[in-house]
Symmetry: C2
Subunit: 152 residues, 2 copies
């Protein structure tokens, strides 16, 4: 377990990058993803796989395009994620005309509760680190900003 670390102990908190949204947003995403992958990783899933799986379990027959819109990921990325989940036999695809419908397998359905549980654990970890209230407001602001910027 020789996980690479970043030693921030001696970093000036007010370095120039703290004033840069591009930098900060990516830093936050990486830190948070690390935590998320740690929790979802116990189920053998990356966080985005877990999200997609849950979406498929809750909406059997959902199409890649719909998933793309819901998860804010491009169609090609969705295809790749589905491929991975198919390999793990958690979902399966059925072609219908020009659409592809994605269904959960039994194995996939059975994993749902664990996914939700992992989800709650990540929430707890964020809350412990920065406070439950702060998690809420920050999430809201971030989501709104992402929407505004995405529309540009």
């Amino acid at each position: 377990m020789t996980k690479e670390t970043i030693d921030t102990a001696d970093v000036n908190v007010d370095n120039r990058y703290s004033a840069c949204l591009l930098f900060s947003a990516n830093a936050l995403a990486r830190v948070i993803t690390a935590i998320g992958d740690e929790e979802f990783g116990r189920l053998g899933l990356a966080y985005s796989h877990a999200y997609l799986l849950r979406e498929v379990v809750d909406q059997p027959g959902v199409t890649p395009t719909q998933l793309s819109n819901t998860l804010f990921l491009t169609p090609s990325t969705i295809t790749r994620l589905i491929e991975k989940l198919e390999q793990k036999q958690l979902v399966e695809r059925r072609a219908e005309g020009k659409n592809t419908k994605v269904f959960p397998t039994i194995k996939g359905e059975q994993l749902r509760d664990e996914v939700v549980a992992a989800w709650l654990r990540t929430w707890d970890r964020y809350s412990n680190a920065i406070g439950e209230e702060q998690v809420k407001t920050l999430t809201q602001q971030i989501f709104k900003a992402a929407q505004s910027l995405g529309a540009v």
Copy 2:
């Protein structure tokens, strides 16, 4: 130019993911990175390359470890970024004992002003989308959160 798009027009703003920090943070990072890469892309650089280059120009002889701490990226990632910049002949490495020191080339130094200019352009675009004041506060909050969560 058949860039993949994500159609968010018909997405419910209050879907369950808007309440999830992991999801929102990554969505924001992707949107923002797309804008940043567009601006820095004119210089033939990804945004992280631009950041690293600026760091090297401003602190000639900086080591990968220092860069790792400043840029919140793991040492291996730093190595990869340096390799890329070396290929473009914008920086060069000199081994000194167990340390590696990174210096800008003349070509690299000449690019500095353009990097700063691109930086300002990204700032303008964020401000136009979500307001200058909001960019400031959001950036601050995000950076703080990243620090708190990173320390866990």
